[in-house]
Amino acid sequence: MIDLTALAEFAPAIWRGLLVTVEICAVSLMLGLVLGLVVALLGRLPFRPLHWLIRGYVEIWRGTPLLLQLFILYYGGPSLGFTPSAYLAGVLGMSLYTGAYLSEIFRGGFDAVPPGQIEAARMLGFTRLKTVRHIEVPQMLKLVVPPTTNQMISIIKESAVLSVITVPELTLTTTRIVSETFNVVEPYLLLGLAYWSITSLVAFASRRVERRLVQA
């Protein structure tokens, strides 16, 4: 039933799509990580309007599908004078989406750092900034590794919707093969295998990081 020669024929194109997916995900996840951390830290400042702003950002970005966010950014941007390329819109949209999820995870992580440790650091003469940098962030990071990697895996999978804004990633490449060759079975199975490989690799890597952080 499964045609192996067909598989071999599609593999190179699917590989190229895979590289695009990996590249765009790597960049946006890193940017999203930084954004999430910044938002979580800003949320700790005693300034009310900032809290509302952050709440609004998190609720809206987590409450609507990524597909619609990308669509509105890419096709709606030009009417506001902002015309990003498909790649830029993709990276921007995915980073904002990732940032919203991760900021919530980091917020939970900060809340879980025992207050005694912070007090102790302050008594030892650490400045506020130094306490954040040397005590709070490292402690928090240890706690948030598992939920963060879970979230990243989810977002890698969701990146399939980048196809609606013409980013030639894995799913779009496969869809193109399907509509040109009229073959469904082999390309879609290969597509599944490709995603499963990426997500399994990330899951494996995260377990290694987790173990090292716990030992540290």
């Binding site: 609720e59 599908p65 509105i72 096709y75 199975l189």
Partner: protein
């Protein structure tokens, strides 16, 4: 921007949202049953059962829902199995959420103090009774926040069902775009619909969490 054409189509968007809601609710419920079964398998003493459950979780958390749906919709007929769009949709959403729910329940189970089960056994409870009266209510209570997030994810990802001929909220929006040529306005309104749905889910989750909290009121 001109929303008049889209506003005129609001009843259709509401109908699409209804499809989104019933499919999400059905998938979440079926996923809860399957997830609990898989969780029990993952925690059982039987190696084969544990392996099956671990494989299940790895596959359905590792595959994008879109890919699962495409495979369920297009591949079975090649082997002589018929699937309608709704069955493929329901099956795909269920398997996807069950993969996540298995892990949520497992994490919840691991937080339970072992003393409870022992105490119940000493009181003469059977294993099934322990699972039903001791474990389940407690697991449910500690996993509400995670389950709420999962429910929001299911509602949002149900938009992918549009690809396999299910006319839910997103497909209705696409259809409206094709006759009104107002993509931006339509998708903004569609996003508002999703936002209302997911906010309702989060709000309900938080209310449940408060009600079931053990802290004195």
């Amino acid at each position: 921007m001109d929303f008049t054409a889209v506003i005129a189509q609001l009843p259709r968007l509401v109908a699409g949202a209804q499809t989104t809601v019933w499919l999400s609710v059905a998938a979440l419920a079926c996923g809860a049953v399957l997830g609990l079964v898989m969780c029990a398998a993952r925690l059982s003493g039987n190696i084969a059962l544990r392996a099956v459950a671990a494989g299940f979780v790895s596959v359905f958390r590792g595959l994008p829902l879109l890919v699962v749906l495409l495979i369920l919709f297009y591949v079975p007929p090649n082997f002589g199995i018929e699937t309608t769009p709704i069955t493929a949709a329901l099956l795909g959403l269920t398997l996807n959420t069950a993969g996540y729910q298995t892990e949520i329940y497992r994490a919840g189970f691991l937080t339970l103090p072992p003393g409870h089960a022992e105490a119940a056994r000493m009181l003469g409870f059977s294993r099934l009774q322990i699972a039903r009266h001791i474990f389940l209510p407690q697991i449910f209570r500690v996993t509400i926040p995670a389950l709420t997030n999962e429910a929001v994810d299911v509602v949002k990802s149900s938009g992918l069902l549009s690809v396999i001929a299910v006319t839910e909220l997103l497909r209705v929006s696409q259809q409206i775009v094709s006759s009104t040529y107002r993509p931006l306005e339509t998708y903004l309104v569609c996003a508002v619909f999703y936002f209302v749905l997911s906010s309702t889910v989060s709000w309900t989750g938080r209310a449940l969490e408060r009600r079931m909290s053990l802290k004195p009121a």
